[in-house]
Symmetry: C2
Subunit: 165 residues, 2 copies
Amino acid sequence: MDEAIREKLETFIRRKGLRRTAQRDRIIAEVFSKDEHFSAEELFERVRRSDENASRATVYRTIALLVEADLLRQIDLGDDQTTYDPNFIEKPSHNHLVCIDCGKVVEFEDPGIEVLSDCVTRRLGFRAVRHSVKIEATCEQLRKHGRCPNLIERRLSGRRLRKRR
Amino acid sequence: MDEAIREKLETFIRRKGLRRTAQRDRIIAEVFSKDEHFSAEELFERVRRSDENASRATVYRTIALLVEADLLRQIDLGDDQTTYDPNFIEKPSHNHLVCIDCGKVVEFEDPGIEVLSDCVTRRLGFRAVRHSVKIEATCEQLRKHGRCPNLIERRLSGRRLRKRR
DNA sequence: GTTATTGCAAATGATTTGCACAAGG
DNA sequence: CCTTGTGCAAATCATTTGCAATAAC
C-alpha cells in the first residue's frame, strides 16, 4: 500500500473523528494489495481468507468509508455488478475499455479526452469535477486470429460475467 | 412515439417469435412518451396511472425486452439507481453531464470525443462498439449567482437523489 | 390448439441496520 | 469512561421467478 493512501486515510479518519481498528486496517490492506477491480462480496471472501471471523457488514462499511474518502471508486463496467476500482490514486483520471467478446477490462488515460470533456462542460455552463469514459469494444485478436486468451480465461473463471440477465 | 421505434420493435418482435400484446404496447408507449430518464419503479407508477392493474413483473420484463432490442438503454448517473434512457434512438451516441450541486442531467453530443475514443480504442487493439461518457460537474449558475433553479426543484421533488447511502 | 404472456405472490440476493458487546482514545 | 466499531442475524428493497390462468397467432 502506498504512502499517499496512508496519508489521505489518516487525514480522513482524523477529520471525521473516526478510530483506527485492526479490522479496518486489514480490509484496507486487502483493497490495495492488488490493482484488481472487485465486488463487495469478492472483497469479503479475500478478507475472510486471512481473518476467519471478519464480518460482511464491516467490509461493506469500510468500502463505504473508502468511497467517501475518495480512495476507492465505484465504477460501472456494464455487468450489473457494483464494482470497485482501487487504482484512482495512482491514475486519478483513468478510464475503462471493456471488451464485449472476451470480457477483458483495460484501463487507459487520455489527456485529449480530458481536454475535450472540459470544453464541452464549460460550453454547457458547468465546471467539470470528474469524468468517466467507458468504451465497449470488440476484440481484434479474436477476429483476426480466431481466438483470444481472455476469452478462455473468462470461460474458466466465470468471474466478471453479468449476474442478472 | 416515433416511426423508427415502431419499426425496430416490429422487427425485433417478429425475429424473436414474440407476440404483440396490449400490455406491452401500453408500457412501451409510456416509455417513449417523454424524453425523461426513469427507474423501473417510476415507470411502473406511470403505467399504473393509465392501467390500474398493470403488473410490476410485466413492466420489468418489458424493460428487459427493450434493452435487449437496443431501443432503451441502461445508464449510470452515479445515483445508485438503475436508470433507463429512452433517447438513444434520436441521439444514438449522446452522453451525460450530471451536476453534483443541483442534480441536473444534461445530454450532449460531441463528435470530438467520439473520434478520440475511437483512436484510443484502436491503439489498444480493439474496435469500438459504443462509448459512454459521464461528466460530473458543478453548477456555474450556483457559484456566480448564489442560486440555481434546479437546486430548488430537486429539493422539492426529492427525485433522482441517491437512495442508498 | 399451441406457445407466449400476464399477474400474483413468493423467492432471491445484494446491501443495510438494530443491537449487545468489544475496543480505541 | 465515553463513544465509535464490530459481528451477528434480521430487515430491506429492487428485481426475478414459478405457476396457473389468459390471450396471441
